[in-house]
Symmetry: C2
Subunit: 314 residues, 2 copies
C-alpha cells in the first residue's frame, strides 16, 4: 500500500517511520525539496539508532525500511496511487485549508486523507472541497513512534467507512486508534489532559503541594496504573464492578468533586514562572532537549515491556 | 527500628511487607488473633511468590523477611518500643477514633502514628487525644507494594518534624511520599483522579467515545507518559519550558476548559450499568480477581523496569 505524508516535520517523520515499519511504501512531501532530503536523512539515522537500541518497529531491517521511504516536492506525484494520506503541516487553519484544497484535485474515490491536527476539526478547513467526505482527523500523540494512541475524529461530512477503514489501517500498523463520534473542543485526549492540568494548577496555586510533589504524585501513583488500566476499568477493579463502585463511592466522589475549582481556568504567567523555577532545579531550560530524549528512551522501554507482556499472554 | 501495623487486612499486610523488605522489625496487630495468623500466612506466601517471580523488594531473602514480621492481638504489646505506627483499620470515622483513643495511652514522645485513611483527615478522629500532635495521614495507593506513592497529610495539630520524619522514613523503605500542606477533601490524588473520571464520565454519557476507547485512550496515550513524567513537566517539555507553554497554549487550553462540564458530578447507576455491560465483554465480574492479579503483575514489571532504568543512569 502506498502512503503519502504531507509535511516533513517531526510528526511527518514519525508517521513515515510507523508506516514503513509495517512494510508500506511511503512518499514524504514538503514544499521545499531541501527539507525533504533533510527529513529523509533524519529518518535514516533514527531508524538505524532504533535498530541498534532494539526498539525498531516491525519485522524489516532498518535499511529495508529506509528504502521504503522516498521524498517528493511535487504534490501530484506524492498523492498519485496513494491509498492513505496523512497531512502534518503546522496547526494553522489557513495553511491547512490551502493544503487540503490543493490536494482536492488528486483525491480519488479509494483514497483517505487524514489530518494530524491536534485541535482543529476538519470542518474548519475542508468545507470548500469536493472530496470532503473522504477527510477526517487522525491525531497522534507525541512521540507517535513510542506512544501508539491516535484520535480518529470524523467531520460532519466524513463517510462512516472512511473512519472505519482508517481505524483498521492504523491498528494494522501497530497504533492504537480510538474513534470519536463527532468533533468537539480538545478532542478527547486534551479534554482529559486539561482536566488534570487544571486541578494540578489549582492545587499548586493554593499552596497544597510543591510542583515536584505534584509530578511525583502522578509518576509514582496514578501514572503506573494508567499505563495498563484506564479510568473506567480502575473503577471496575476497585470494587465488585463499576456499578458496585458507584453505589459505594459516588457520594464520596461527589463530595470531593463539589470542591474542585470549576473550569474555566487560565494558566497564568506568574504562576508558570514559579513552577518553572521549581522544575528548573531538576530540568533546567538548557537540558530540555536531553530530557526529551530521556523521556523517549523510557517510553520506548515501556512500549517494549508492554509488547513482551502481551506476547507472554498470547 | 520497630514498626507497628494496626489492622491486618490487605493494606496492613502490604505495609508489613514493605517495612520488612527494608529490614525493619514489624508487629502486625488485629483484634482477633485468628485474623493475625491468617494474615501472617498470606504474607509468607506472597513474599515467597514475589521472590520466585523476581519482584521481592530489598536485599533480604523472603524467609528472612517473613521472620521479621510477628503478630499480636495485644495493642500495648504491639506498640511497645515502636518508632512508627501505621493504622490500617476500615474507613470509618468512629472506628478510627476508637482505635486512636485506645492507642493514645501507649504513644511515646518519639513515636509517630500514621493513618492509612484514603479520605478522612486525622482532624476528624484524633481531637480527643493527648498525643494528637504525633498523628498524621500516610495514605498509600493500591497495591502499595508495587505503587510507591504515599500522601502525607498533616492534621491541624501535627508537628512539622512528624511530617518530615515520616517522609524520610517512607523514602528510606522505597516508597515515594509527597507532602500536602494541609487537609483537603480527597487529598491530592483523588482530586486528580476524580477530575479525570468526571470528564471521562461526561464524554461517555455524551456518546463521544465507547467505554473501551476511553480506557484505551489513557492506556495508550496519556498513561505511558505519566508513568515517567508528571503533568507539569509534560508542559515544560512540550514547549521551551512551562512559561513558554503558557504563552503558547494557555488560551487554547482555556477555550477547551470552558467547555468542560463543570463539577459537581454524580456518577449515576444507569450510566454505570451501561459502562459495566461494555467493560464486562473484556473483564466479566467473575474475572475481576484474576484481572487484579494481572494488573499487579504488570505493575510489578513496570516497577522493576523503572528500577533498572534508574540504576542504568546512576
Amino acid at each position: 500500500m502506498k502512503i503519502a505524508i504531507i509535511g516533513s516535520g517531526l510528526i511527518g517523520q514519525s508517521w513515515a517511520m510507523i508506516f514503513a515499519g509495517a512494510g508500506h511504501t511511503v512518499t514524504l512531501y514538503d514544499i521545499v525539496s531541501e527539507q525533504v532530503s533533510k527529513a529523509l536523512e533524519t529518518i535514516a539515522t533514527n531508524l538505524k539508532n532504533y535498530e541498534s537500541q532494539g526498539c525498531l518497529r516491525g519485522q524489516l531491517t532498518a535499511s529495508r525500511q529506509v528504502s521504503l521511504i522516498t521524498g517528493s516536492s511535487d504534490m501530484q506525484e506524492c498523492l498519485n496511487g496513494a491509498s492513505y494520506v496523512q497531512e502534518c503541516v503546522p496547526e494553522s487553519v489557513d495553511l491547512k485549508r490551502q493544503v487540503f484544497n490543493q490536494m482536492d484535485m488528486y483525491i480519488t474515490e479509494d483514497m483517505i486523507v487524514a489530518s494530524s491536527s491536534s485541535c482543529l476539526g476538519v470542518s474548519q478547513f475542508v468545507g470548500e472541497m469536493k472530496n470532503k467526505h473522504r477527510t477526517l482527523v487522525a491525531h497522534p500523540v507525541n512521540p507517535p513512534y513510542f506512544v501508539p494512541l491516535v484520535e480518529i475524529v470524523p467531520g460532519p461530512w466524513t463517510l462512516p467507512e472512511v473512519s472505519q477503514q482508517t481505524r483498521t489501517l492504523l491498528e494494522s500498523v501497530g497504533q492504537a486508534p480510538v474513534t470519536l463520534s463527532k468533533e468537539c473542543p480538545g478532542f478527547a485526549l486534551n479534554r482529559i489532559q486539561y482536566s488534570i492540568i487544571n486541578e494540578c494548577w489549582c492545587m499548586y496555586k493554593d499552596g497544597l503541594l510543591s510542583a515536584a510533589d505534584i509530578d511525583k504524585l502522578m509518576v509514582n501513583g496514578l501514572g503506573p496504573r494508567y499505563a495498563f488500566i484506564g479510568p473506567l476499568e480502575t473503577m471496575h477493579l476497585n470494587a465488585d464492578g463499576i456499578v458496585d463502585y458507584c453505589k459505594r463511592y459516588a457520594q464520596g466522589a461527589y463530595n470531593v468533586s463539589s470542591t474542585l475549582t470549576p473550569p474555566p481556568i487560565m494558566y497564568d504567567i506568574p504562576t508558570a514562572e514559579n513552577v518553572q523555577s521549581e522544575l528548573s532545579s531538576a530540568v533546567p531550560l538548557e537540558q530540555l532537549l536531553e530530557r526529551r530524549k530521556w523521556r523517549d528512551r523510557h517510553l520506548a522501554a515501556l512500549a517494549s515491556l508492554k509488547n513482551q507482556l502481551k506476547e507472554k499472554k498470547d
